[in-house]
Symmetry: C2
């Protein structure tokens, strides 16, 4: 069922999007060599093999120079516990303050990074090496390859499988931070067989629609 639609001005109203704490540091000896944090919602996955992400940063930001000079950044996922600090790191500049100290966060060594630290309190950190920089306008888009991942040990189940649903992650939606609600389905659930549905979505399996089929690529 479609409803009447109206036209709005072009704007970045895609939602929900991630909200992440990016940690970075300029190369040793440079004037940018202090650990820093920047909060970004302009971030996304851009490739599976190799695993790659994009983050977009204004040229005027202190972190922009750090990432450009070091060729590195770490994406730290944000849970509800980290939200106040995350918001704070989005509105303050690392030129003026030490955000790690101001937020009582810990800059720890990040796997596979020479310069950029990780946030020890984050549930999961992605160490990224810059592969390309696109100058798009207000923002430069850094395309980074994910070269290492570190996760809080308590996110692993007894089979050593990552359970990100336990992390309490936060989404960003048109100016608001939102918690994640219930699990509505899994990738492929609309064409899954009865056995898989009964195992993974016992409640929905009972009232599934008659249409089903097989996955294609």
């Amino acid at each position: 069922m479609s409803v009447p639609r109206i036209q709005l001005n072009p704007a970045t109203v895609m939602a929900p999007v991630p909200v992440v704490l990016v940690s970075c540091r300029g190369p040793e000896g440079s004037e940018y060599a202090k650990p820093n944090l920047i909060t970004l919602a302009w971030a996304g996955i851009v490739c599976s093999e190799p695993p790659m992400v994009s983050i977009s940063v204004r040229k005027s930001r202190y972190s922009h120079r750090q990432i450009q000079e070091s060729g590195e950044f770490v994406i730290n996922l944000v849970n509800e516990k980290l939200l106040r600090q995350t918001d704070f790191c989005g509105v303050k500049s690392g030129r003026d303050i030490d955000k790690f100290a101001a937020c009582h966060l810990t800059a720890c060594p990040a796997a596979a990074m020479l310069h950029a630290p990780a946030v020890a309190e984050s549930p999961l950190s992605l160490s990224c090496q810059v592969r390309q920089v696109l100058e798009l306008g207000s923002h430069d888009c850094f395309i980074g390859e994910i070269v290492a991942v570190e996760a809080a040990a308590d996110l692993m189940d007894e089979k050593n499988k990552l359970c990100l649903d336990r992390a309490g992650l936060v989404a960003y939606c048109h100016g608001d931070y939102r918690s994640l609600g219930s699990i509505l389905g899994f990738f492929g659930y609309s064409v899954a067989g009865d056995e898989v549905l009964a195992r993974r979505m016992p409640k929905k399996a009972a009232r599934r629609s008659p249409a089903k089929g097989k996955k294609s690529d």
Copy 2:
């Protein structure tokens, strides 16, 4: 408070990310000139001015050729009502079936697009023109400028302000579709003044932390 961390293999574990229905069509007269849909989670915002997005699509996908040949695509946001169709469009190929027909969705003209249709049932559609294509590996990343936006009229409030929180949007998190939960804060809430907090977050204003300050860029 930090917990013990373990290292995992590099992988695309950034979360939550959007899940969107992308509609596209090859140019009139080409063999790809039928309306098609593809579900993507590898999508993000990459620039504010001009407003730009990225979507990443495997070269093997039927929609890849359509987007490449037309230079256009439409990002249709996904709400809970559209989720089953959205999942279905992520596992079936437009080479084999008419996904609009199979999903009982309506391909309607999209503002500012010559070729790509929009999904009439989506709460909000972003019409995008391709500006760059990055060949990254498994996926090509299309960088698109948002040239028009259309929203369901019932998402506008009495002051004609877009209220995306009413849309019931869905996030994608490590293989699962998740509803959006409660509003935890707004951009800048950690440094907002008492008056703003009392108006926008009456519950939190009463128990805010003592740290406050002013926004910087």
